[in-house]
Amino acid sequence: MTVQLLAVLIYFLFYLKISRNSVFIFLLLLAFFLGSFSFVADNYRYYAPQSISNFQSQAKVLVKARLEIDPGDLSGSNYYLKVKELNKHNFRYGKIIVSKRCFDNYHSGDLLSLYLKLSLPQKQLNPGGFSYRNFLKQKQIYLQGWQPTNIKFLAASFDYRKLIIKLKSKFLDKVDLLFQDKNQALIKAVVFGERSALAKKEKSLLRGAGASHLLAISGLHIGILVFALQQFILKFFKQSKKTLFSLSLCLVIYILMIGASAAVIRAASLALLYLWSVELKRDTDFLNLLAVTLIINLIFDPAAIFKVSLQLSYLLVLGLYLLTPFLNKFLPALLAVSAAAQLAAFAITIYYFNQYNYIAFLTNIWLIPLFSFLLPFLFIIILISFLNITLASLGAIFAAKLLNITFALLTLMVKLQGKPLLFKTPPLFLVVIYYCLLFYLPLTFRHYQINFSLKTQQLKQITVLTAFIISLLIFSYQNNSQLLKVTYLAVGQGDGIYVEFPNGEKMIIDTGPPGKDNMGIAYTIIPYLDHFGIKNIDYLVISHFDADHVGGMPYLLKNKQINNIFIPPFKKPAKYHVWLNNYLSTHQQPKLYKLTAGQQLQVGQCQLSILNPLINKISSDRNANSIVILVNYKNNSFLFTGDLPASQEKRIIREYKLKKINILKAGHHGSNTSSCAELLKNLRPDLTVISVGRNNFGHPAPEVLSRLNKYNLKYLRTDQNGAITVLSNGSQLKIKTFLREEKKSKLIGQALPELLKAFVF
């Protein structure tokens, strides 16, 4: 689907601009054919019988594999194992990702035998979420390996990576020698593509200032380097052929060193193709060469066409090529370049990341010239350091000053911007329309020598311009469905529920576990909210202060605007109480309220009744204090019970004489301490949602599941069904789970290659 749409887009471009050049379309079609074919092949490999993705074992597995180290990511924490055998069975396809800790003594290319625990990577469970499984699958990594033991070295073999790594380590050592901590990391990232070297803080600084293209070594880098290198080498050889050969060689080694991304391959091959064209005495056509680089990219990485980096990179270049001359009519050159880049990046950025750092427009205006000087300068310093360390360190002092200024300016940019703009994920066709209009726009402003149809042209200009502006407006359009929407997100072992009331007000009940570096919430609730373009939360309810319910709160407060926060009363402050107290003493928002049984809230047409905790019976067991909310919307009712234990369940049933409800969130992640028979018997929920993830507590308890089955009650689990969304119009309910049958894609993966075979043979 994506491919077809992209093909249509490209065809559209071609049709408008380059009808003379039949080679161009031929190349593009070739590229897309190659892309689709290898996509099918990739899928086949994943599902093939010889693929390790079919191998499943709870016990440790004897693995025979070749170690692969990515020279582009030496500071990262992972190595890869290209599998030969699992438990003595041969396997052909797939790699295993492992932590590099236990592999210090081995080199890339070594054949090893070891014992590993294997697991499939996490798949996407929530709308807007991240699929680690697909991310790895695109790199032909199908399994994760844990706890390696009994590592034995079998044989060494030649691997070009070993040489590259050796060379790169030498460079990196020099960087360590010349620069200090913070700059070290940045230089490693910016000059040698060691993204993992950067701390999270610096990464988010660069991203926030709209300078993430520096973070990922980009086409710009290569452009600057090729230009600098060319000048330099030309001085030595005075002969263009030798210069070209050495330049090409240097570039290839450098690309291998930094890890080839789509943008890098594009820029490098484009630069080389241009340089070689002079030697070959041939004309160049930009779009034609761009199509060639696309093919080269797809040869390196067939799945690249589905990756953000390639799509962004090519759209950016096309945007710069088509839009800059056009914008230059109205703006000075530097502004025009920056504006063209922003316009070209906008829709695709929104589509993938939802956030748009508009300050990038300003950042790039000063950053690119600065960088064009800084990058070759850093290179020269590092090269000089091999000859004369004193001279190099003098240069390094100067460079460090410049880098400090850069950091200060970047911080300023982030401050200037405040929060980035947030958009809900637009439908794909809107993105395609956006680019069609954007690239068509400059053509309507083309100057014609013979111009009768000035009026038609003006009409065209106005139509395209308005259509373009409308498409921009649609990106920011938020509609209100007039429904009550409750989404039980798959946050791992914990609770995280998003409620959107019919009047548009938004509530979050619990924030999931914190996870390492806030990964818990940062990969679940936040992307979900971003996906729907939600910036403000009116009510945040923390049912109780256990980490798996409150853990994401700090991150949520920092990233979204929360107006009110509801917590249960407590006896002894927990860790997060202290944190919240500190936070509230320095911030205006949110307002804090304590909820107790008997309180009523009216949100739009929804009635929220608080059933627990009792104000005079605050227990020292935090679970027993869980806020319990009954939401009534006309004839539909939802009960949210936190981690309420059975004793309290019985109490609320008796005290409030609760009768049938529609949706129950099973208390305490399906633990046997909750969801007692009395509760289930009385409530007879149409659906019970168990919010649960991988855990050591045995949630959900088999007893609870059998109890649900006994009363013939339907249930869904967030760990198996992904996010569960319930929509209510007050009388009818619609239930959607994020994970549907996986078989469909599997079927396509297997059927297509068979089909192809049938056609070919």
Binding site: R20, V23, L273, R282, D285, I450
Partner: protein, 248 residues
């Protein structure tokens, strides 16, 4: 070796060459003539509404017919020309006419087509007819440029091309003559080719193609012929160039 050449052609395809100046170019509105050359043409967008010639100075007429058309209304319905016969454009046209450059017919026909689309597309034209050239002169020059233009244009417009006229009198080259002498010289110059029946032209709209309008004598004479002998309803004239009408 062959494979490398094919690869080279794929990666670095040859660019088109401008037929007028011989240089390679990236992009142009008209296939075959580059943008740079086109800027040196003076295209007529506001000429006399009848004979389509540029009037110098243009402010004098402002939508009214030029003095020549006012003095004597030409027999054709209207005429249009692409550019004024002067400067660089004139050189290229002369090249086309006398320089044995039939390849220029294609870009010129493309230009004609633009003007056809603007002024004549709604006129319900039935046939395209070129101004004929005397056989001897055609032998000498190699081809009739008007025929080439008309044939190309008929391909683009999907209108029927009819080469039915012939020049029976090998008149003197008109550019040597005055307007009055031209008229005399052209009298009885046109005739139908043998065995051509005029029935199909009765009541039809005819588009006549020529390379240039100088004084409009040829256009008038051939129009008379088509209207009277062939009994056509209307005659329209489309030429690549025309000499401007100078108002003193």
């Amino acid at each position: 070796m062959g494979l490398i050449e094919i690869l080279k052609d794929l990666v670095y395809p040859e660019k088109a060459v401008c037929l007028a100046c011989g240089r390679k170019y990236d992009h142009s509105e008209i296939e075959g003539i580059c943008d740079r050359c086109l800027t040196r043409f003076s295209f007529i967008t506001e000429g006399c509404p009848i004979c389509g010639r540029e009037v110098i100075p243009a402010t004098l007429i402002a939508g009214e017919p030029c003095p020549e058309c006012r003095a004597e209304r030409p027999p054709f319905k209207l005429a249009r020309s692409v550019f004024s016969y002067s400067g660089y454009a004139r050189e290229i046209l002369l090249e086309f006419k006398y320089g044995h450059r039939p390849d220029l017919a294609k870009p010129f026909a493309d230009l004609l087509y633009l003007y056809y689309a603007e002024y004549l597309a709604d006129k319900e034209i039935d046939f395209i007819i070129p101004v004929p050239m005397h056989g001897e002169r055609k032998n000498y020059r190699g081809y009739n440029q008007a025929e080439r233009l008309a044939a190309q244009l008929s391909q683009k417009t999907k209108l029927e091309y009819k080469d039915i006229l012939q020049r029976v009198k090998n008149s003197l080259p008109l550019y040597t003559l005055t307007k009055k002498a031209r008229k005399l010289e052209l009298e009885g110059a046109f005739a139908l080719k043998e065995e051509i029946k005029t029935d199909i032209f009765r009541g039809q709209n005819i588009l006549v193609i020529d390379d240039i309008i100088t004084t409009g004598t040829t256009a008038a004479e051939i129009s008379h012929f088509i209207l009277e002998i062939m009994q056509a309803e209307n005659v329209y004239i489309l030429t690549t160039a025309s000499v401007p009408v100078k108002v003193m």
